[in-house]
């Protein structure tokens, strides 16, 4: 490995509570997620206005919109996305990655959260291409278009939004929790082995993705209304409005105590 910069969770009461949950009852993943959401509540409120998150979600709406046009490549360019250099789906997602990095470079305040949003966008793109079992390897830009046409109706767009916010939420929770997890693996801890630690990470990931179902119906309704009203040109401001509400829904979903 190259160099890495590791962090720790703050030694405050809410975060000490999270650490205690990881150490003592890691099987109770909802409790860990809830504790983390409460400890990070202020940050999660701030992220509801994060321009990096909004931008990545906006890109997703634009790919979905462009997919409905015959000339997909030209439409992508008209919507501010790069023109495919090769026909490869892998290559095109890499191009979008570059463009998004450039777009986000001025949002310094986002910190690592900007990168988390970018990772969620990439995964949503690649996962959507493979939704019918199609491999990313050997897939083309045409396959991206076909996959996104299927998700360009309001109902199916809700699935896209769920994937995106589920991944973003999972990465955000793990970005925080994994500052401590390794310190609580081994005899005498709730996570007795690395295998248990892996299972915990997988469970937390899955729990976050399931929690994101809370935004699915809302996203479907929002996309149908705004895309129709704006004639396929959802604006960044409209996307920002959606993201703010989606983040609030996600935060409240995690904070629920009846799970």
């Amino acid at each position: 490995m190259g160099h890495v910069r590791l962090g720790r969770l703050p030694n405050t009461l809410p975060w000490r509570g999270v650490v205690a949950l990881i150490d003592e009852t890691p099987d109770d993943v909802p409790a860990v997620a809830r504790g983390t959401a409460l400890a990070a509540e202020q940050r999660l409120r701030t992220l509801a206005r994060d321009p990096s998150l909004t931008h990545c979600f906006w890109v997703l709406t634009r790919v979905a919109t462009a997919s409905r046009h015959d000339d997909f490549a030209t439409q992508l360019v008209q919507l501010g996305l790069p023109r495919p250099i090769t026909g490869s789906a892998l290559g095109y997602i890499a191009q979008v990655t570059d463009q998004v990095r450039s777009d986000l470079s001025t949002y310094t305040d986002s910190g690592p959260s900007g990168e988390l949003a970018s990772l969620a966008l990439r995964r949503t793109l690649s996962e959507t291409v493979g939704v019918h079992g199609r491999s990313l390897f050997g897939s083309s830009v045409d396959d991206i278009q076909r996959a996104f046409i299927e998700h360009s109706s309001p109902t199916r767009f809700g699935e896209l939004a769920r994937r995106f916010f589920g991944d973003y939420l999972a990465r955000t929770l793990r970005f925080l929790v994994e500052k401590e997890v390794s310190n609580h693996v081994g005899a005498g801890h709730g996570l007795t082995t690395i295998e248990a630690s892996s299972a915990f990470a997988t469970s937390l990931d899955l729990y976050a993705r399931q929690s994101a179902r809370i935004v699915e119906d809302f996203a479907a309704g929002w996309y149908g209304k705004h895309n129709w009203e704006s004639a396929d040109t959802i604006s960044a401001a409209e996307a920002q409005g959606f993201v703010a509400i989606a983040l609030r829904k996600l935060r409240m979903e995690l904070a629920r105590t009846d799970q």
């Binding site: 190259g2 160099h3 910069r5 720790r8 890499a94 910190g111 995964r123 491999s135 793990r174 082995t193």
Partner: protein, 570 residues
């Protein structure tokens, strides 16, 4: 407001009016000349001779790299308490003098410079170039006379680590190249190591001389406010390119094994450049775009090891019959203040990867566990870096091992950054990457299994510390009371430490002279030792002692008093 927006004024460059009244978080002067210089910047060749003058654009390149490196260290990115990383990303505006302002002011060059720095540092960079007085930018380096260096045809960026050694060896043995070794010297002890290794290279892999050039570029007068040094790779590439310009060489080799080069996050807390991108394919692609128009004949910085795992890279030494050189390299991130007997800390990400890699490559004899301050497999790993890196490293390997090719891109979308146009068709590049990742993961798990077998006795007896890597892999063993009845007394070496059990409690002690003396006395009950013999590790005059035991102080079982004295091998 958490955003850090810093104005850096380099060597007294005049400030444009547009920058004077902005709301800077900080303003920092960087000075490389005069008595008050806070940036040391000079070049030295093998013989310690300070040479002549480097050409304008190449000198500018080194200066840009050095100024960026100085600015990077001058501003904190926040510490561990910055839980959300809100201070990690900074915005820099640099005012700096250059000799060829017309070139550096070109939009294409400026945007390429900003792009490569943004990728490798996570920061945002903007530059304002001013015309420098001719004497101001001169660098003390004259390589026009190639004969001085033996007419080299390649530049190897040489850190003194295992991978840079392998790069140099492969270049000479397999490519028949004649590389000049270019080093960045941030501290004296690193320079000494690099120089010694270059000398050994000449002796073992000659007849090529491996002429070294050392660039002394570091802060002076105060400690760095931030030590992550994400811009160091950029500086390193800049000085390599400058030397290539001077020597009319088209290839600069910056070697790192492919796993280090990708540096995928072993833990989800490592986002963006929190995991360094020093030889990342995207960094090299962007850097080459940046220097594309620097000279009439394009220069490329390439990583010849980029599709091979650490173990595969170390195989270069075996094939070239010089694997003993591995012992002379150092890969540790925490070199400052380390004892010479244990030059590797053993627990940083570099050490952990090196340790696994050398075992996987069958080169453990050249990379002895004793050279590591901490043996992660069997030592008690304290909370923090040691435990996090070790646990995450194996967990990462397990995850990669279990994942299919497509799933790897889902789990690690960072892989899309590695698909760069200059590397070839995207699908082929992606296939090579996932194949390498799977080979790496299989290697890590294989080494883990071998170490479990090697220490199976200790694992079965439950004598390894609970937070050692092997215990975290295997899990709790029999409860200690079953292994150590309350009335059992133990004084036993376990790896690098000694376990002492008394009155039902076990404690672990580091290898010290005192513990060795105690072990020796306990191994020879009823025998007299002179105090000086004990102090100097001499055998007693009147008693035959097993020399093999004495050499390692691994005493034999003693039956009386229920005292158990055994070696790990027992």
């Amino acid at each position: 407001m958490t955003e850090t927006h810093v104005l850096v004024v380099c060597d007294g460059a005049p400030l444009p009016a547009s920058l004077r009244n902005q709301n800077w978080t900080r303003q920092i002067p960087v000075t490389s000349r005069g008595a008050a210089a806070d940036l040391n910047l000079r070049v030295q060749n093998l013989r310690g001779t300070v040479l002549g003058t480097i050409n304008d654009r190449a000198a500018d390149l080194v200066h840009i790299g050095a100024y960026v490196y100085a600015a990077d260290q001058a501003v904190s990115r926040g510490g561990p308490a910055d839980v959300y990383g809100q201070r990690w990303r900074r915005t820099f505006t640099l005012c700096l003098p250059v000799s060829d302002r017309a070139y550096w002011d070109r939009d294409q060059v400026r945007s390429a410079l900003a792009a490569v720095l943004h990728f490798v540092t996570d920061d945002t960079w903007d530059f304002h170039f001013t015309e420098a007085a001719p004497s101001l930018q001169q660098l003390q380096l004259d390589l026009h006379d190639r004969e001085i260096l033996g007419t080299p045809d390649a530049v190897v960026l040489f850190s003194g680590g295992a991978d840079s050694l392998c790069t140099a060896v492969e270049a000479v043995v397999h490519q028949r190249a004649r590389p000049v070794l270019v080093s960045h010297r941030p501290a004296p002890h690193i320079d000494a190591r690099q120089t010694a290794l270059a000398r050994l290279l000449k002796e073992r892999v000659g007849p090529w001389d491996f002429p070294p050039l050392s660039f002394w570029i570091h802060r002076r007068g105060s400690d760095a406010a931030d030590t992550s040094q994400r811009s160091r790779a950029f500086l390193f590439a800049c000085i390599g390119t400058a030397v290539a310009v001077e020597l009319n060489i088209s290839t600069v080799l910056l070697g790192d094994n492919g796993i280090v080069s990708l540096n995928l996050p072993i833990s989800a807390q490592l986002v963006g450049a929190l995991a360094s991108r020093s030889t990342h394919p995207k960094f090299l692609h962007l850097f080459n775009a940046f220097i594309g128009d620097l000279t009439a004949t394009p220069i490329s910085v390439i990583n010849p090891l980029g599709t091979r795992t650490r173990a595969e890279v170390l195989g270069i030494l075996t094939q070239a019959h010089c694997s003993e050189l591995l012992a002379e390299t150092n890969s540790c991130s925490h070199t400052r203040g380390r004892p010479s007997a244990t030059p590797h800390c053993g627990y940083c990400s570099q050490c952990v990867d090196r340790r696994f890699g050398s075992i996987a490559a069958g080169l453990e004899d050249m990379d002895l566990p004793e050279q590591y301050g901490t043996d992660i497999f069997i030592s008690d790993l304290p909370e923090g870096e040691a435990r996090t890196v070790a646990e995450s490293y194996v967990r990462f390997a397990r995850r990669v091992h279990e994942a299919g090719d497509d799933e790897l891109f889902d789990l690690f979308p960072q892989l899309f950054d590695c698909i760069v146009p200059s590397a070839g068709p995207p699908d082929r590049v992606a296939s090579e990457l996932v194949a390498m990742l799977h080979r790496h993961a299989a290697g890590v798990l294989d080494v883990t299994s071998r170490m479990v077998v090697r220490h199976s006795s200790d694992l079965a007896q439950g004598t390894l510390p609970p937070s050692s890597l092997l215990r975290m892999v295997v899990g709790p063993t029999e409860p200690p009371p079953l292994v150590h009845p309350a009335d059992e007394l133990v004084f036993r070496q376990e790896g690098q430490r000694w376990a002492v059990r008394f009155a039902g409690q076990t404690r672990y002690f580091n290898q010290t002279k005192g513990i060795r003396v105690l072990a020796r006395l306990l191994a020879h009950p009823g025998q007299d030792f002179h105090a000086l013999d004990l102090a100097q590790d001499r055998p007693p005059e009147d008693g035959p002692v097993d020399q093999a035991q004495l050499a390692r102080f691994l005493p034999a079982d003693v039956s009386d008093d229920g005292l158990s004295l055994t070696s790990p091998a027992d």
